[in-house]
């Protein structure tokens, strides 16, 4: 019974945060803008799945930020200030606290992704496209995958929130993770490539095992899954026919699901066993 009360409270609190609200509006606006522009820029039938690939850049930039913003402070903030002492002196299990917060805050993620992408999808097919059952199902799958992608970063933020004991450290770690995965991962890869080349370990293109290591990162996994399952664009170093099997979409899907589960589970476990 009690997780609903926590969910309602956290929903109200997140709604009152201007930063969350503006980022949410911005995300939805970017999705709609994408849906509006895309059919104008292509000559072929816009209903084909390429729109999903068109959106990947914007989504991987904004959605992780929104997700981390919602979660990184969810536990540590209340813990540092002492609100958690009130919350847990009531008949709430820690599991219910984590779950209630996930629901209350995750709603914003859900609303943003669903409203943004459904709206964008409508703009793509109207007025020149056509809707079929299979394209609708495929697009629903794409929305689900994107939600899960947001969930990965919510989980990372939650883990940050339960492993740190100060808000300052949580902010640094949470946005550090965003910075590393979303903004500078490409640069890091290139840096490593150049370094290894200088050392003579690799020659020209990085070997598959190194690509695999690079590709474990969640935004690259998302990019690959969107390309393989929705865009049906089987090219590039990871998806082309002559790449190693472990660079392909099915291994990527397994890794992606691992990312969905592990940070969330780890974050919850830490909260469960720790002294406040």
């Amino acid at each position: 019974m009690t997780w609903q009360a926590i969910a309602r409270k956290d929903y109200a609190q997140s709604r009152d945060s201007k930063l969350v609200r503006y980022l949410l509006y911005f995300f939805v606006a970017v999705c709609l803008l994408g849906g509006y522009i895309y059919p104008i820029t292509v000559e072929a039938d816009p209903t084909k799945g390429e729109f999903t690939g068109f959106m990947t850049g914007s989504i991987t930039l904004l959605l992780p930020l929104l997700a981390i913003l919602l979660s990184y402070n969810s536990i540590v903030g209340e813990r540092e200030s002492g609100q958690l002492n009130l919350l847990l002196s009531l008949p709430n299990k820690r599991r219910e606290v984590v779950f209630g917060k996930l629901v209350g805050r995750g709603l914003f993620l859900l609303a943003g992704v669903v409203v943004g992408l459904v709206g964008a999808g409508a703009l793509v097919v109207y007025p020149f496209g056509s809707i079929t059952v299979s394209s609708t199902l495929s697009y629903a799958g794409y929305i689900l995958l994107t939600l899960a992608f947001g969930g990965i970063f919510y989980g990372i933020g939650l883990a940050v929130s339960t492993f740190t004991t100060s808000k300052r450290l949580a902010t640094m770690t949470g946005f550090g993770a965003y910075f590393l995965f979303v903004l500078v991962w490409d640069g890091v890869r290139q840096g490593i490539n150049i370094g290894l080349e200088r050392l003579g370990v690799i020659n020209g293109t990085p070997p598959d095992w190194l690509l695999f290591v690079y590709g474990i990162e969640p935004t690259m996994l998302y990019d690959r899954l969107v390309a393989a399952f929705f865009e049906e664009d089987m090219t590039g170093a990871y998806l082309s026919a002559d790449a190693s099997w472990y660079l392909g979409e099915w291994v990527a899907l397994a890794l992606f699901l691992t990312w969905v589960v592990v940070p969330l589970a780890l974050g919850y476990w830490r909260f469960e066993v720790t002294d406040l």
Binding site: R8, Q83, L88, L90, D275
Partner: protein
Amino acid sequence: MAAIEVENISKRYGTVTALDRVDFTVEEGEVFGFLGPNGAGKSTMINIFLDFVRPTDGHVRIFGHDCQTEGKQARERMGVLPEGYHVYERLTARQHLEFVMDSKGVAEEPMELLGRVGLRDAADRQAGGFSKGMAQRLVLAMALIGDPDLIVLDEPTTGLDPNGAREMRNIILQEADRGATVFFSSHILEQVEAVCDRVGILHQGELAAIDTIEGLRESVGGGTKLQIQVEGVQNGMLDDIETLEGVEKAWLSQEGTQVEVTCSNDAKLDVVVALNDAGVEVNNFRTEEASLEDMFAEYTGGSR
């Protein structure tokens, strides 16, 4: 069934021992004062009741529910004013109470509760603007929701003015009259003295004593101090008085116009009679009970 059973609780942080094999029971309906200087481990114990902190050894049961494995059931029967809490800035006083009712699955009249703690006028103000004392009253009101069988208050008068502290005492007594068990910690002696049936004294993580106030007084020695205004007393007489049964010590003060005697309660009259028999004129006398303060200093080695 006992309200609280603490069984051999120890809590160590690395090499620091916060609680050392603490063992006691609080019966249903008791008002139990948990007394000790700051840093003695009182809050650690309460945090173990709430499962904020997991003990290194031992168990605590609240109405038979283990606080670690059945914490939710234990807390369902508790109302708590924890230490180091912070209210939600953006929620009003009324919303705080509604949140607790929601969590406990009960429905009560928020205004009535707020009236009891003197916050009626602030019902619809956001708690972010509350003073420490108002926040304390608000959390007390939250603790009273659902008529809990056990009320746990960690340093309840922190931040309250003397008036607020008196109201807090009244509420504790009202709750006890209703039949609730009250467990509260304090480092302020008068509060414990005024309301508690029984007291446990915690010192450096160990339970130094546990008894009723009277029992503790007795054990401190004598228990009563007599001050007798006299005329014509001689020093030798005091030695005679000290030989009386139940008398601990007698001495002169106020430049020979007052005899002070520490003795058991029963020996008081014997002392006065003995002085009178010795030809001393007794003008007036009064008794003073050994204060909890003396007792507290005695148990904690005066190291407050």
